[in-house]
């Protein structure tokens, strides 16, 4: 209950972008850097890579990059303005200000979720910054002097991608399932091999605020976490369109509170949910609140969570982060089988989850702790993790997603704050360097981690901008 700056970007106002001081202070230390002319760079770690393999590209010139970005930005802007019904005609009044003096924006991919297509030797990652899905060779390894060239990139207006936070790869078909978080209430499924501005083969309407996704292959079920409603909805794996969930788990007994990652343990037929800890109660018996963004989604649906229009005023609580374990078939206001919570757990914005069914281990991408925590499958209460991957050699930077590739013995981590996807042995522990790294930017590129900036404030005392995300 004590973090300010995870999502509060401060930047010195009044300076050109090239000299802009960008501070995501505190718990995103990897981003505590100055741009080119600022000096005092704080680089978390740099390890020489002994073996660089896979597709790489050397950095183009600044001019080439600028021209490419300008063309793409213009095309995307016009598409989006049109799609959103934004006016191309003015509302009246004199247009002033011209183009912006400066724009604080990360031009590089910020990896939010990662999964491995083991059968096809590919790695799939979502990028919450530029709204794209990237496919890489599983064996890629890129030195600091280059960025990893994707095999394919899914991006564009037809994809309906926005702030994709969770990803699942169907091991049989290679299809990509990815949840849009917060802004578009859709879960998109793309056919394996899709490239460019392709339409999803399925587009499922989800409750507002879907984040994590896991699939139970044995029962052909797909489970999604819903942040805003502190709920889990279970769909048919092949669900599409306006189809309703087949089960709903929501209520104060569930222990679900601002849920993020989710993963299934097929052996014990349970699933794990990572919670940030904030929640409120909702009731279908109170007067339905009007004017709620994304309200009314429940009309015509069954097993739909009670949204913010049913929130009980003043019932909110801000609790310690946790991982709750539920039986796969739990519904309604069912109690958790187990709860992992407490200071010994080191949980600090637990985000992505992965499970190694053979070794019976749960992996946690611990965003604010810049660590990966490993718990025994049966851990409960204020349990300490059995292993903690953390330290400057790891190059972990606000990890938001993990994937356990048990076939190849690899642990994959998406570093939202580091422009990287890093790979370790599944049994890695402590301050262990990655065995391979995929990169979207050079190590000294500031990782802004601006995501859905709904507001901005000016701190006149310090001449800084405050940006919540």
């Amino acid at each position: 209950m004590n973090r300010l700056s995870k999502s509060t970007a401060r930047s010195a106002a009044g300076l050109g972008v090239g000299a802009l001081l960008v501070l995501f202070s505190g718990d995103r230390p990897a981003a505590r850097q100055r741009l080119q002319s600022g000096g005092d760079a704080v680089l978390i770690a740099s390890e020489p890579l002994s073996d660089s393999t896979g597709a790489i590209c050397l950095w183009p010139t600044d001019r080439q990059v600028d021209e490419l970005r300008a063309r793409r930005a213009t095309a995307q802007r016009l598409e989006q303005q049109g799609r959103r019904g934004r006016s191309t005609a003015g509302p009246g009044g004199e247009v002033i200000g011209g183009d912006p003096l400066r724009m604080v924006r990360d031009p590089n991919a910020a990896f939010a979720a990662v999964a491995v297509d083991v059968a096809r030797n590919e790695v799939i990652a979502t990028d919450e910054n530029l709204f794209q899905i990237l496919a890489f060779k599983r064996t890629d390894n890129t030195p600091e002097t280059a960025r990893t060239t994707p095999l394919r990139t899914i991006a564009g207006d037809n994809t309906q991608i926005e702030f994709q936070s969770g990803v699942y790869i169907d091991p049989e078909s290679g299809d990509i399932y990815a949840t849009n978080n917060d802004t578009r209430n859709k879960m998109a499924v793309f056919a394996h091999g899709g490239n460019g501005d392709v339409a999803p083969i399925r587009l499922l309407e989800t409750p507002h605020g879907a984040f994590g996704i896991t699939v139970d292959g044995a029962h052909s079920e797909m489970l999604l976490t819903i942040q805003h409603d502190s709920a889990i909805v279970t769909y048919r794996k092949q669900a599409d369109g306006k189809e309703s969930p087949i089960r709903l788990l929501q209520g104060p007994k569930t222990g679900i509170a601002d849920p993020h990652g989710i993963v299934i343990d097929p052996k014990d037929d349970v699933f794990f949910v990572a919670n940030y800890g904030s929640t409120h109660d909702a009731s279908a018996t109170i007067e339905k609140r009007t004017g709620v963004p994304s309200g009314g989604q429940d009309v015509g649906k069954t097993n739909w969570p009670l949204g913010r229009e049913y929130a009980i005023p003043g019932s909110g609580t801000i609790n310690a982060p946790s991982i709750v374990v539920h039986k796969r078939t739990d519904s309604g206001n069912a109690s958790a089988v187990r709860v992992i919570q407490g200071p010994a757990t080191q949980l600090d914005w637990p985000t992505g989850l992965a499970f190694d069914a053979e070794r019976r281990e749960l992996f946690v991408a611990n965003d604010a702790g810049s660590s990966v925590l490993v718990f025994d499958a049966n851990a409960s209460g204020n349990a300490a993790p059995k292993r903690v991957l953390k330290g400057p050699k790891t190059n972990l930077a606000n990890p938001t997603s993990v994937f356990a590739d048990t076939k190849n013995g690899d642990l994959w981590v998406a570093n939202f704050g580091g422009h990287t996807i890093t790979v370790y042995p599944l049994a890695a522990n402590g301050n262990t360097a990655p065995t391979r790294t995929l990169r979207s930017a050079p190590p000294d590129a500031p990782s802004l981690m601006i995501g859905n900036p709904g507001a901005v404030a000016y701190d006149s005392t310090r001449d800084e901008l405050l940006v919540p995300n």
């Binding site: 004590n2 973090r3 300010l4 700056s5 999502s7 509060t8 970007a9 106002a13 009044g14 501070l23 718990d27 989006q80 959103r84 019904g85 934004r86 006016s87 005609a89 003015g90 009246g92 009044g93 004199e94 247009v95 002033i96 200000g97 011209g98 912006p100 003096l101 724009m103 924006r105 990360d106 910054n129 926005e162 942040q227 502190s230 929640t279 609140r289 009007t290 004017g291 709620v292 009314g296 929130a311 005023p313 909110g316 609580t317 801000i318 914005w349 601006i450 995501g451 900036p453 709904g454 507001a455 901005v456 404030a457 006149s460 005392t461 001449d463 901008l465 940006v467 919540p468 995300n469």
Partner: protein, 243 residues
């Protein structure tokens, strides 16, 4: 106590404090202005008496020491120094207010006014494309009528007031519109910033830097913060400018 889903922030320069809503936990977190890293908020407004539901925006009046929260049909007002489970000291609510769904709020501490960006009565409450700016006396409470209403805009996502110039900045479509605070009725904005047909795609936040005569806008689609130079808004008397 912060989450990854915070859609508002306010800075109080008089008391050097930062205010952030925690919409899932139904709370208002107040941090010291110099806070950095994992620090606890100095105050938390939370509990059943607060009537907080899903606070997405807030405004702070550092002169009169009040916090304003738009919550559906209501605008809740709390003492700035409130902590814990406290009741609002005023609630603006009712059909005469014209506010069907309040989306944003800003305070003019010079003229003692509060501006509410809202979906008006008569529109569908969920219709984000029909908006108004309802201007009240700062101490208005209950089913009070606004002093005046500026209408005719759509998709108002956020607002800011710059009391020194008497201007209202409304974040709506792919640009920011500027009205005079004494405008009334269905009138076009005096100015627009960033468009139409500019770089902005989906602006959400706006703040004013009087020192550099700039307006700073956050865009949720671009994942960016853009700064525009608009010195003409800071000339005296700025309120005579435009149209």
């Amino acid at each position: 106590m912060l989450g990854r889903t915070m859609h508002a922030i306010a800075y109080d320069a008089v008391h050097d404090e930062i205010f952030v809503p925690q919409q899932f936990g139904q709370g208002i977190l107040v941090f010291d202005g110099k806070s950095t890293g994992e620090v606890a908020p100095k105050r938390v407004i939370e509990g059943p008496d607060t009537q907080l539901i899903a606070l997405d925006r807030l405004g702070v009046d550092p002169i009169n020491n009040e916090i304003y929260v738009p919550e559906g049909r209501k605008v809740l007002v709390f003492p700035r120094g409130a902590n814990g489970n406290v009741k609002p000291i005023r609630i603006l609510e009712g059909p005469d207010t014209t506010v069907l769904a309040a989306r944003a709020v800003a305070i003019d501490t010079v003229r003692n006014l509060v501006v509410v960006g809202a979906t008006p009565y008569g529109a569908n409450a969920g219709d984000e494309r029909t908006s108004e700016l309802a201007i009240f006396d700062r101490t208005a409470t209950g089913n009070a009528k606004p002093l005046r209403v500026i209408t005719g805009m759509g998709g108002m996502q956020n607002i800011a007031v710059y009391p020194e110039s008497g201007l209202i900045f409304g974040v709506g479509s792919s640009f920011v519109s500027v009205w005079r605070i004494d405008d009334s009725g269905k009138v076009p904005p005096r100015f627009t910033i960033g468009g139409p047909n500019g770089k902005l795609v989906d602006p959400r936040g706006v703040t004013i830097n009087g020192k550099t005569k700039t307006v700073v806008i956050s865009d949720k689609y671009l994942n960016a913060v853009l700064t525009y130079s608009v010195p003409q808004l800071f000339t005296s008397p700025a309120t005579e400018a435009g149209r």
